[in-house]
Amino acid sequence: MVHVSMAVNGRPASADVDPRTLLVQFLRENLRLTGTHVGCDTSQCGACVVHVDGRAIKSCTILAASCDGAQVTTIEGLAANGKLHPMQQAFQDNHGLQCGFCTPGMIMAAVDLVNREGSNLDEAAIRHGLEGNICRCTGYHNIVRAVAQGAREMGAMSTAKAAE
């Protein structure tokens, strides 16, 4: 057993775990944060994407022990003060989800894409940027529209914040 200790969605979380425990297992099974999903066993589907120290990570491909001391944000931590994150709202506004299973990872990846590449993303940049997330339901058409809207809203928010 190894002791892991990190902050998840702003709250301290620690436990003694089997060293083989993946971050996604720690989140889902120890913390019962089941919004992060497991969709494959080869790190390709992206359903497990969370943010670790501000960057998108596939939580199926990192050990919980490797996240000792990290700040982890999951889909459950994205909304603030009961208000949806603009990327979440954009997915609803644009019908960017159907069964919802890939959606948490897709949203987390999209937020990270905007964080890295800015809010002025064209269709090609979005499609390329989501190459690590597989959706079987939507055909991606509405996901692209959702990410474009979410990106614009994130940009507008940070412009407004900067102006304050």
Partner: protein
């Protein structure tokens, strides 16, 4: 029209839990004291099980039980069934081998279930499984669809000589052969419809739980049809009588058909939970999904089309070998027969058709319905051979089709189906315009100038869905009826619950069904809940597949709402002191004709439950009605898809430049959701055409058993789509709905292949048309052109 009524693109109510990570999928469910199941699977495609030694494994830490086929047999647990009886040409019933939930005596495909290890943790179960020794007697495997029935092939089931499940046919051979004998032109085509693996992003999962106090089993399962699961588990597998078995399908992460069937793992979880008196949880790893989810398609076909001198189609004959895998899955026999052969007329007026289908066993995973289920296979045959015939006779792709379209309705095809309504030319015209077909020549020249090859491909598809009229499918061999149920519960203060037998695993029923109710009853959409997926809540239903939830599920709700309106008018009459005949109901208000006396729906509801204003013996209190809707016909969505793509002959890479879809789905409840269904279907069809294929090697090893080897379409493999509709309302249900869930996947593969072959000038390209396949074909085309 209200902001939340029929025809409005209302945003989805269910999204809130999905975008905030608060969904309840089966793997999210944890029951106190649960144990974890891990399945030991066969590494061989075909072998006898000579000995299973679990003695070392039983001593491993945390192990609670290890169960095998012997335990299944000892507990008299029935096998997994196929619920559709197909008869061969000679009248004999199909040859179905036994399909036990844990293998007995023999394994028949890589991934076949040999034993289950149940332990306190999943890691312990997996570690213990490695300590089980199984002695197999390896046998040669029959893997290839085209040759599995040849003499001398390894015999998979004693019940099925020559690995033949059935030899089925539809249509008339004699008149079809006669038409071919006098044809001016005959086009021939050999086609393979490539085997696919559904890959819903949520892997299958199950949690079985037993309550010894009430002798009740509860099974949480990733199912598209929990009541069908309960029926099969109770009546055929014999785990418990129906009233002692609760099946819950909560949020399910996509199905596409693969979660219709009753599988070994959920059966074992339910059975084992009672046996060990602890909850048993199992979740598939993605590789297990690849190995043991029902696969799709896998047809080998020879087709011939007869034309007269004026380019009119005079006959079609088709011979297909359909691979059903190692065991018959729940609906396997229906897919290459009554969901395939009877669609072979396509949108065309074809006087005679004859289709033979030979279904074979092979040492591969069971094959069953996958989005479209038989109709993509039929459309691929028809739209490829029609295209080939057009090119061979020097006719324009669009006009050749139009020349042969069915133009008057109803239209009786020679293969059972009678199409009710449609306007195929209208959809074609709209698609040609939206696709800017006139600009194609110019765009082709521009591509050529850059050294690229541009092609345009059509697919004029029709499908039969809204499954289905019960007596009709019963006469064709179905073991179940395909009606749907709805219960409308009005609560005392006027909120409403709809208990539907349909299931939503991405289709947005919590919104679309509520739109229907809101529109009919004139109440806010937020006052309506849609309840589905639990056999303890919804009495019975047939589930969601075959594009039936709108046409059949909503029709049942509509009928129940009719009954609610009738009763509510009676109550209103008493309250308003008027005769029932004088009560009008509009926009949520009951009023007395010719007066300004009225009350709203909420007041009527309260009155129904207080029963103060009427005699409760003459008029029962309460406001709750049930309806079962049995469709009178299939529905016939149809349309035209046009794919325009560019090929780089140096690399074989295909880029889809534009996709145009014009579909006739009858009336639309929520256009946004309909478009989403079309988008998703197109993506799966493009996946089939360009990148997806399940490959088994000669020994029956699945080579494509993870996303490393099985290529799924991603965002950068697809363009945005141009989607539009025409509307000929469906005459066979009160809402005029045809259904839209599968059309995209049905239409798209031939559009892609027709486009590639148009670009290359080649007669055929196999699916998936990977860069390697396309590059090779492009080299041949260049060589051919240089030689000319």
């Amino acid at each position: 029209m209200s902001a939340t009524g029929i025809g409005v693109s209302v945003k989805r109510k269910e999204d809130i839990r999905f975008i905030t990570g608060k969904g309840h999928y089966v793997d999210d469910i944890n029951r106190p004291g649960q144990a974890y199941a891990y399945f030991l699977r066969s590494p061989h495609a075909h072998a006898t099980i000579d000995k299973i030694d679990a003695s070392a494994a039983l001593k491993a830490p945390g192990v609670v039980a290890i169960l095998t086929g012997e335990d299944i047999a000892a507990d008299k647990v029935g096998g997994l069934i196929c619920g559709w009886m197909i008869h061969s040409k000679d009248g004999s019933p199909m040859k179905a081998g036994a399909h036990p939930a844990l293998a007995q005596g023999k394994v028949r495909y890589v991934g076949d279930h040999v034993a289950v290890v149940i332990a306190d943790t999943l890691a312990q179960a997996r570690d213990a499984a490695e300590k089980i020794t199984v002695e197999y007697g390896e046998l040669p495997a029959a893997v290839d669809t085209a040759t599995a029935a040849n003499p001398g092939q390894p015999q998979i089931h004693d019940a099925a000589p020559n690995n033949t499940v059935f030899n089925w046919h539809v249509g008339d051979k004699a008149s079809t052969d006669a038409a071919f004998a006098k044809a001016a032109h005959v086009t021939k085509l050999d086609l393979v419809n490539n085997r696919l693996i559904p890959n819903a992003i949520e892997p299958r999962a199950a949690v079985g739980e037993y309550d010894s106090g009430t002798d009740t089993i509860t099974l949480y399962t990733t199912s598209q049809n929990p009541h069908v699961a309960r029926l099969v588990l109770s009546a055929f597998i014999g785990l418990a009588p129906e009233h002692k078995l609760r099946v819950i399908a909560p949020d399910v992460g996509g199905g596409f058909g693969s979660k219709i069937f009753i599988y070994a793992e959920e059966t074992v979880c339910a059975w084992a939970a009672k046996k060990i008196d602890r909850p048993v949880k199992w979740t598939a790893e993605r590789t297990e999904s690849f190995l043991s989810d029902a696969h799709g398609r896998d047809h080998v076909t020879h087709a011939e089309l007869a034309l007269d001198a004026q380019g009119k189609i005079t006959g079609l004959r088709v011979h297909t070998i359909a691979n059903l895998g190692a065991y018959l899955s729940t609906f396997a026999s229906s897919v290459p027969t009554y969901l395939y052969g009877i669609l072979l007329s396509g949108q065309y007026d074809i006087p005679v058709i004859y289709c033979e289908v030979d279904a074979v066993y092979t040492n591969t995973a069971p094959v069953d319905a996958y989005r479209g289920a038989g109709r993509p296979e039929a459309t691929f045959v028809v739209e490829r051979i029609v295209e080939k015939a057009a090119r061979e006779t020097g006719r324009d792709s669009a006009e050749f089709r139009r020349h042969n379209f069915v133009k008057t309705f109803p239209h009786q095809t020679p293969v059972i189906l009678a199409y009710d309504v449609g306007d195929y030319s209208k959809a074609l015209d709209k698609a040609l315009e939206l696709a800017d077909y006139k600009g194609v020549a110019q765009r082709k020249a521009a591509s050529a100038a850059k050294g690229m090859l541009r092609g345009v491909g059509f697919s004029a598809y029709i499908e039969a869905c809204g499954l289905a009229p019960s007596a009709a499918v019963g006469s064709l061999g179905a073991g179940v009826g395909l009606w749907e149920s709805a219960e409308v519960r009005v609560n005392p203060i006027g909120t409403v619950e709809i208990l539907t037998g349909s299931h939503s695993h991405g289709q947005g029923h919590e919104t679309t069904f509520a739109q229907l109710v809101s529109s009919r009853l004139g109440i806010p959409i937020d006052n309506i809940s849609i309840v589905h997926g639990d056999t303890d809540k919804v009495q019975f239903g047939m589930g969601t597949y075959g594009s039936r939830s709108g046409a059949v599920g909503m029709a049942a709700i509509s009928k129940a709402l009719d009954k609610i309106e009738t009763k509510a008018k009676k109550v209103a009459g008493h309250v308003l002191e008027a005769s029932e005949q004088d009560i009008e109901f509009k926009d949520g208000k009951f009023s007395v004709k010719g007066t300004d006396k009225s009350i709203d729906f909420g007041s009527v509801a309260l009155n129904a439950y207080t029963a103060h204003k009427f005699n409760g013996q003459e008029l029962e209190p309460g406001l709750k009605e049930t309806a079962f809707w049995d469709p009178t016909n299939f529905t016939f969505p149809a349309g035209v898809h046009i794919c325009e793509l560019e090929i780089d002959p140096q690399t074989g890479v295909v880029t889809i430049d534009r996709w145009t879809a014009v579909d006739d789905f009858g009336k639309l409840i929520n256009p946004m959701i309909v478009e989403g269904q079309v988008h998703g279907g197109i993506a799966q069809g493009v996946g089939q055409a360009l990148m997806e294929a399940a490959h088994y090697d000669g020994d029956g090893q699945l080579l494509t058993a993870s996303y490393m080897d099985y290529c799924m379409p991603r965002a950068d493999n697809l363009p945005s789509f141009k989607v539009d509709t025409v509307e000929t309302p469906c005459p066979s249900n009160p809402l005029g709905i045809k259904g839209c869930g599968e059309a995209g996947a049905i239409a798209s593969p031939p559009a892609v292949i027709n486009a590639i072959t148009d670009a290359l000038g080649h007669e055929d390209v196999s699916m998936p048309a990977t860069p390697q396949v396309v590059w090779r074909a492009a080299q041949k085309a260049v060589t051919k052109r240089a030689a000319e």
